[in-house]
């Protein structure tokens, strides 16, 4: 399932968004969920089509790339110690990103519900606050279960 490889990272330090994306992409590669081309593809796509979103409280980003770089569907999570600068999807405005959900997904319609749920989470201030304060993976997984992203 989507978080079973434990790519759940708290309070990582990153110098900029490329550094942050690299850390997360490397982690997904290490657990075998993506191939070697995933990381450069993620970086390229982010520069062409930014993926950050300003929520009402904090900035989040959902970097992703083409399905052919994905071996096994997975979501990597990273909370940054200090927010880093990204551009917002759709209008290139500035976003200080604190939470990153890196999507390694295969093309499939059954992911629609999960993705909608994930976007719904960004509209839930209470859950976002929890994600800012928790400190272990089990708490993270519990939240993902509570909101319905995983079963």
């Amino acid at each position: 399932m989507l978080f079973d490889k434990d790519v759940i990272l708290f309070d990582k330090e990153a110098t900029d968004n490329k550094d942050a994306l690299g850390i997360l992409a490397d982690s997904l590669y290490k657990v075998g969920c993506v191939n070697k081309e995933f990381k450069p593809a993620i970086l390229e796509r982010e520069s062409n089509f930014p993926t950050a979103l300003n929520t009402e409280t904090i900035g989040v980003a959902i970097p992703h790339t083409d399905a052919d770089k994905v071996i096994e569907p997975q979501i990597g999570f990273m909370r940054l110690k200090n927010p880093v600068h990204f551009l917002q999807m759709g209008d290139n405005s500035d976003v200080q990103v604190k939470l990153i959900f890196m999507l390694a997904l295969k093309k499939s319609d059954d992911q629609l519900k999960m993705l909608q749920t994930l976007m719904g989470l960004f509209q839930n201030k209470e859950t976002l606050t929890q994600l800012e304060t928790i400190n272990d993976k089990n708490e993270f997984l519990k939240i993902m279960k509570n909101v319905g992203i995983i079963k």
């Binding site: 089509f49 009402e56 959902i62 992703h64 917002q88 999807m89 093309k107 909608q116 960004f122």
Partner: protein
């Protein structure tokens, strides 16, 4: 039958979410059976904007088509969704 194209960078993630939201909205208005929705990536459809009644994007589009494209990012953040649905209904010529 009216047509809506929803594009993002990859044609997989955010376009899927935006398409789902638009379909849910049209369903709630009783208009879903009058519309066919498609999704794809911007690179593939950037020259086909005029082929659809409504063209919606979650990514920045080139300036020359900017005026014809509806920005779907509010459907992802939940901030300003009504305006997006209004724009879509206007283009479809449906009552809001």
């Amino acid at each position: 039958m009216k047509t809506i194209m929803v594009v993002c960078g990859s044609g997989i993630a955010t376009s899927t979410v935006a398409e789902g939201k638009i379909r849910d909205y049209l369903q709630s208005k009783g208009d879903l059976d009058k519309v066919k929705t498609y999704k794809g990536n911007i690179a593939q459809y950037v020259n086909n904007v005029d082929d659809y009644d409504v063209f919606v994007s979650t990514v920045v589009v080139p300036d020359n088509i900017k005026d014809k494209v509806i920005n779907a990012v509010p459907l992802l953040t939940g901030i300003g969704t009504d305006k997006v649905y209004d724009q879509i209904m206007d283009k479809l010529g449906f009552e809001k």
